[in-house]
């Protein structure tokens, strides 16, 4: 395991671009020509695009939109823009890096694992996240973490991508300060978590 990720107090957010570089360094010794990568829409997919390119992975990048697997569907419904999931490789017996922007309750990860297993039976799945909020409600852990970030109550931590493709973390106040993830954020922002 690499050194422990840095922990940031709630007032300062780490530089997402620097964290991408750190994640690439962390991941490099663990990838092989057979390693596959899957990003979780939306923010996780942005991060996965960057990691996939930097690591020069040969197997095409996969994308999961977990909307059809969410556990809060019966109360929140379907968000307006569900993207089709696309796994352009055979999942069976594959080592897969599952990439998300922010790890929070663990519910998104659970949904993503459920969906991934509907494509086949991977040999291993390891979770890669840019930021870990460390407020888990499920037994989920990331193996590769950019930084641990403490988020003030009533806020969500979001990844954003500007017109030049630069990634940045941002805090967003949210109305439902409960446990359920907020519905789809404004365009240009990853799903708030």
């Amino acid at each position: 395991m690499p050194t422990l990720p840095p922990t940031f107090p709630m007032t300062t957010l780490p530089d997402a671009e620097a964290l991408v570089g750190q994640l690439v360094d962390q991941l490099r010794p663990h990838v092989s020509p057979d390693t596959a990568m899957v990003g979780i829409a939306t923010g996780g997919a942005w991060l996965a695009e960057r990691l996939h390119r930097s690591l020069g992975l040969a197997i095409p990048l996969g994308l999961l939109d977990i909307s059809f697997y969410r556990d809060d569907y019966s109360s929140s419904g379907l968000k307006a823009s569900v993207k089709p999931s696309r796994i352009p490789f055979d999942v069976d017996d594959r080592d897969i890096l599952l990439v998300d922007d922010v790890l929070y309750t663990g519910r998104t990860t659970r949904a993503a694992l459920n969906e991934l297993f509907d494509y086949g039976r991977p040999r291993s799945v390891h979770l890669v996240v840019l930021a870990d909020r460390d407020e888990r409600q499920l037994p989920v852990a990331a193996r590769f973490v950019g930084a641990t970030v403490r988020v003030p109550p009533g806020c969500s931590l979001e990844l954003r991508r500007d017109a030049h493709g630069i990634l940045a973390l941002a805090l967003e106040a949210r109305l439902d300060a409960g446990n359920t993830p907020a519905p789809a954020g404004p365009s240009g922002a990853g799903a708030g978590r």
């Binding site: 939109d65 909307s67 059809f68 697997y69 569907y73 019966s74 929140s76 419904g77 379907l78 307006a80 823009s81 569900v82 993207k83 089709p84 999931s85 696309r86 999942v91 459920n114 969906e115 297993f117 509907d118 494509y119 086949g120």
Partner: protein
Amino acid sequence: MSQANPQLNARGGLQHLLTIEGLPQEIVRHILDTAGSFVGIGEREVKKVPLLRGKSVFNLFFENSTRTRTTFEIAAKRLSADVINLNVNTSSTTKGESLLDTVDNLAAMNADMFVVRHAQSGAPHLIARHVRSQPHLHVVNAGDGRHAHPTQGLLDAYTIRHYKRDFAHLSVAIVGDILHSRVARSLIQVLRTLGTPDVRVIAPQTLLPTGIEGMGVKVFHDVEKGLRETDVIVMLRLQNERMRGPLLPSAQEFFKTYGLTAERLALARPDAIVMHPGPMNRGVEIDSLVADGGQSVILPQVTFGIAVRMAVMSILAGGS
């Protein structure tokens, strides 16, 4: 329709799908976009998502239909719902039970959704009105009389969008038995809702409802004039079972005057697509060469129909 749209809940979300009429364009687009995400699921190792797990969907078919019932059943099962098929014409109604008593009994069995096909126009509306005090219950119209067949209209729109991308410059011709066709009605409404500038209906006067021009379509009696420069041709089945009295000389005569042959198809744009809601009568409204030809998208319509029905059911069940 009355002042308050019975299909929408208090927040403007979709509560029932009864007709395309009065449906906001955003909801139509939301259904089509969501269907796009469901198309790929049919090609996966596990052709299911858990959205409707634990929900009970009742297929209430008061009128015969194999394809529509089957595609609704497949759609519900791919959403992980439990599906109960009732061929009601062979069941309680023959013992004298009223439609609404049947519905109450099924609601007492904790139904979550009714998919209703009925020979009487308005039957799904009646059921929707009857269950309005139970907001967890959703009604989908799977075809009522001559009135509406909204999921067919939506799947036709999905198919057209798949091949033509956009509705803004399209010319669409609907040919055949418009009079008895709830498919034609729903298709015209969805095309108008999505801003299709040129919608044509082509049929003999006896197979056109009066006042059809009021739906924003151009009427043609001459198929060769009507098909010129069209992008999409939708052929309809001659519904002999609904015809009362002689509306046509014969099926052969109809084919001679209105049937889609390769020569007539050549009058449309070279990249025009040919659609048919099925079941089709080869040699009556469409020639086999055209039905099986390179411009036919009749079978993709069936595949897309499942995804569209999955989208409708998941949007309904997620809105309560």
